[in-house]
């Protein structure tokens, strides 16, 4: 009998799901590996999750649970708790589930400020917050802040190959072999250790000779472009060239911090400052935590402790 699988989607954009569904034959290998018993995006499975409503979530029991997205609403927490309860192994899929992801950028403001900005400022409407909008939790958290998580599989989105590989390893009871080094590991650009004294604005493009292979291009960070590669978990390109680099664009940091408790903002600024680079030339530093604002890293500005 094949293992049973639950799949839930919390505070995310559906990118993880689309990537998986769009992966062609790989999707069929998923179907061959497991019996999907709960996957609201694919299957019509009714359950109660709305806030305020009474009653237990009626999720089926499963051997493996995949969760995408972080936790931003009370309903997310409810579903997540139920997933944890019903699944023997719980896997955080994608950067939102693992590190908060883009939605966690709102942790720079209070929930009230966020609601006001979205619904009641001049750029949108000046109306009050409409009824029926579910209340936000005070901040967006990754799922491991709320429940125990067995495997964390980052990516925005993660490579479908990696999802399948993780499931395969799990079923075969093999050791998980997730990438543990940074984007630089498989980046072929030329590094000398000597960089620019300042960091260019985002509008500056990489310098390279058209047609020249990537392994002849100078490291983007050394060119003075803010490449997040050194502080970001690798794996986006498999064992091949990282994805953004293939387009000669610097890494945005979407796989989250390379070290489990690393801080992409602090680690990056520190590495720059240590090398004598004027890190204050970087506009909107906090956006370096754009993918990893959970775990209490991003906090409302006024909240100094």
């Amino acid at each position: 009998m094949k293992p049973r699988l639950n799949f839930e989607w919390l505070h995310g954009c559906s990118g993880c799901e689309i990537a998986l569904l769009n992966s062609g034959e790989l999707l069929f290998s998923l179907f061959q590996l497991v019996d999907i018993v709960h996957f609201p995006l694919l299957m019509d499975h009714k359950y109660i999750a709305d806030p305020g409503e009474e009653g237990d979530l009626s999720l089926p029991e499963a051997d493996i649970g995949l969760v995408t997205g972080g936790v931003g609403l009370a309903s997310h927490l409810k579903i997540l708790t139920a997933m944890r309860r019903q699944c023997r192994v719980l896997i955080a899929v994608g950067t939102c589930a693992g590190h908060g992801g883009i939605p966690a950028m709102r942790n720079q403001w209070t929930a009230g400020q966020t609601m006001e900005t979205v619904f009641s400022t001049a750029t949108t409407d000046t109306a009050p917050v409409p009824d029926g909008v579910p209340a936000l939790l005070d901040r967006v958290s990754s799922i491991d802040e709320q429940v125990r998580v067995d495997v964390c599989l980052p990516g925005c989105p993660p490579r479908p190959e990696m999802i399948i590989a993780v499931l395969e390893a799990l079923i075969q009871r093999e050791e998980q072999r997730l990438p543990h080094k940074s984007v630089c590991e498989t980046c072929p650009t030329v590094r000398t250790g000597k960089g620019q004294a300042t960091i260019h604005r985002g509008t500056v493009r990489a310098a390279y000779t058209p047609g020249e292979p990537l392994d002849r291009m100078r490291c983007l960070l050394e060119q003075g472009l803010l490449c997040m590669g050194p502080v970001t978990a690798g794996g986006c390109g498999g064992r091949d060239v990282p994805l953004c680099l293939r387009s000669r664009v610097s890494c945005r940091g979407c796989y989250g911090p390379v070290r489990k408790y690393g801080n992409q903002l602090l680690d990056m600024m520190n590495a720059l400052a240590s090398n004598g680079i004027d890190y204050r030339t970087i506009i909107d530093r906090t956006s370096l935590l754009r993918f990893s604002g959970a775990h209490g890293r991003l906090r409302p500005k006024g909240e100094r402790k």
Binding site: K181, P230, D267, M268, S274
Partner: protein, 1034 residues
Amino acid sequence: MIGHNGSVDMTASEPVGAVMVIGGGISGMRAALDLADSGYYVYLVEKTGAIGGAMPQYNKVFPTNDCSMCIIAPKLVECGRHANIRILTLGSVLDIAGRPGDFVVRVRQKPRYVDTEKCIACGQCSAHCPQSVDDPFSGHIAGRKAIYIKYPQAVPFKYQIDAEACLYLSQEGKCGVCAEICPPEAIRFDDRALEEEIRVGAVVMALGFQTFNPAVIKAWGYGVYPNVITSLQFERYLAPDGPTSGVLHRPSDGKPVRRIAFLQCIGSRDKHHCGNEYCSSVCCMYAIKEAVMVKEANPELEVTIFYTDIRTHGKEFDRYFERARSETGIRFVRSRIHGVEPRGTRGDLRLHYISVQGRQVEEIVDLVVLSVGLETADDMVSLADRIGIQMTPDRFAAISAFMPVHTSREGIFTCGAFNGPRDIPQSVIGGSAAAASVAVLLSGARHSLTRTASFPLEQDVRLREPRIGVFICHCGTNIAGVVDIEEVAAYAATLANVVSVERNLFTCAQDTQDIMGQQIRDRELNRIVVAACTPRTHEPLFRATLRSAGINEYLLEMANIRNQNAWVHGFDQQTATAKAKDLIRMAVAKVSGLRALHPLRIPITPSALVIGGGVAGMTAALNLALQGFDVHLVEKTGQLGGNALHLFQTWSGEHVPRYLDGLRSEVVNHPRIAVFYHSTVVEVAGHVGNFTTTLRGDSGRRKTVRHGVVLITTGAKRYIPEEFEYGKIPKVVASIEFDKLHMHNEARVARGTSFVFIQCVGSRNQERPYCSKSCCTHSIQSAIKLKKEAPSRRIYILYREIRTYGQRERLYNKARELGIVFINYELHGPPKLSRERDGVLVEVWDHVLHRPLQIQADVVILASATLASPDASDLANLFKLPLNADGFFQEAHAKLRPVEFHVDGVFVAGLAHYPKPLEESISQALAAAGKAGCLLARKEIALEAYVAQVDPGRCDGCGLCIEVCPYRAITLVEYEDEKGVVLKSVVIDQVLCKGCGICQGTCPKQGVDVAGFTCAQIEAQVDAALDDTVAEGT
């Protein structure tokens, strides 16, 4: 017969492999360390209770403004714990018998009255001692007890009793409180003087100096007016660890100081008052330094330095002076003050002087600092007399410029200020040079008397669970009097991995070491925590204990519960006890994660590459060859000699060409020296111990040499003047050209009746803000010779400052006595030259007569600057060495490492380092050879244990750490994984790495860590400090 560099025919018998160094100041310490490091047993005789000499008294040192204590403390400790240095404190040499290679020295040690084996320097004796006396260490501005340590960082760190001040010793048994309270019972009132006869092969006299006592001359009011102090006292006022904690106030009334006057040349350049005719060389710089320091701390202060000439002739000194003058607002007045008077009764002081404009000026200040000179103490002069070495009229050791560390008695060497007044780097160079010269004399006895310890086989702890032993020291009552040791010990036993907890009265005592060893074996301990005093003094001791017990010495962590706990929370037992638990918990957390470390040992190729065949290069090459090492000497021209080929005499009148001939023939005939003419270095690989260098000869042929060390002696070149009509008027010549004309008595000279020397041509200007150091002396010597040949000749020297430093001052005095005219000019008003009939018309502003002066000159001699060698930058790149702004090689540390670089195994000497006279080049070359010899004398070198290591599981070669490494030890490499994917990683050169951990602080993924201080270990300590449940055992 003594050859150059002092090689002695030693056919008689094997020399003794021990050396006595007399004097524990910086010069003597350097000599002792170099000798002990190169295979000789050293007896270091110090007349006071602790080594260190004068440096510990200084607040800062010029021109780096380093804290003096900070830089000397590691050297003190190194001397104190060196297995092959025996320090004899309170010692004096009575006499020396025997011959070179085999002397017998009689040494007398005064009683200390404290058993150094037992004293733990807790200071309780001093705290309870009722008797206070003036403290000479502070220049008598503060007191100390009758039982005392000379200064807080003293080595040996043991108390001593001043017998004259002690009530018990001077008044027959009164008091004795120290003996009653001393926790380890170390007081020995029955201690007696000890006389010893010591056999050594050579003696180094580093007798040092004393500062001139200005009280002997009434005019300055020292000892009469409390607000007249010496520069040494001022130094103690400024010192943060001094009696006023660095706060300056008027000694008379404790009020803040508003106006300070420094008076220069007190006890120097002063034949009439005190007979010290020489210049003390260091006072201008130290006065400027003190002025800068006090001005920085109190910007509103008015500071004036009254000087005769500003003698800032050393490396970076003129820049320091210029900054002081232009940026800090210190006023410099060229005038010699002959008296200080009181004004009123409130302690103000009045100074009279005649300004440069010739006016009488009166100034009121509230503090006068006398910049006292250096002189040889009477007892040192009589020691020299007893030993039978010659002295100069200025009461310094008589030396030849060619053999600057040899006394007149064979086998007895000399260094430091005893050789003439000099600053710290010169003294350090002297110490190393003396050691190098001893090494030649005693090369046959190297390693014959030194000891090396042997240790049992080390157990492998890699696969074992940590079994931690905790040893908690009572330190008598020092710790136990404040910390509840019983409670702490019970707590320590509950911590994870702790299998044994012991309490000791004195953990450092020898019997405790035996107990520790026994415990380690009995209870199979594999990691040790010692909760006691500071690792800075005691870690080496406990490491040795670990080694003797067969575990790796790095599996030790100390919890500093004395200096950083019991002593700083002396009134709060609860806090101290709680903190002691925390500190032990932190140490246990760290020690659990420690790994055994085995410092890399690399073999050494026992040969040297010397680049540059001038006097410095030849001197170094010959010294190393005579020490028994092979030398490759590279010279870019076709002949040896360098700049000295243009010199005729030294400042002391010794004949250079004859010396040069002798040196050259010794070098080319020495079987261990291979000279490569017309050759340059084109490629370098390797590092200390094992360099591979490619040379290119003039035909383009390449040759590769392997060597363990490199000496850079590439010299300098002379400045070709662009000013003063040089090259346009034939009667305007550079001084080197003039020397040749003079020697051949060429017509211009022979018939000349009027000569003008112009100083500082190309030196001390905007473009080259440094002093070329030897030109003043050189011009004055030429002038004297001209004048002596024909006293009717009119000779003028146009100068900016006359810098006949040290004993050269006699030349200046003689020149003036002979009627040579000295005229001062300023940088902004240089002399103007024009052709006139068959001579030259020189126009210059006369500051004494206050009008322009016209001189008809037959010959004008330009004292042109010394420039850095243009080849220096190529060589600097090849060996990764720094150059200073003037293009000279930048040594590792201006004060204490004057011939080394931060790159190990590379040394510098001579003009490549900075302009200097021949004597100093030779001294520096010997020092460089000495340092090189220290390395070559070992068969292998052990590198740092605390070096950075790459974690291959984490490093992905992002390269962010490469540029941050100050030692260029990190490089990027590519490798293939098992699937053939090309990956990158950094690698760290274990030889170049010094373990600073800047890489560790930079790496975003903890991919590189310094062993012993890894991120994980530091975090374990942080966690343990903050969470008292974290390390508790189950």
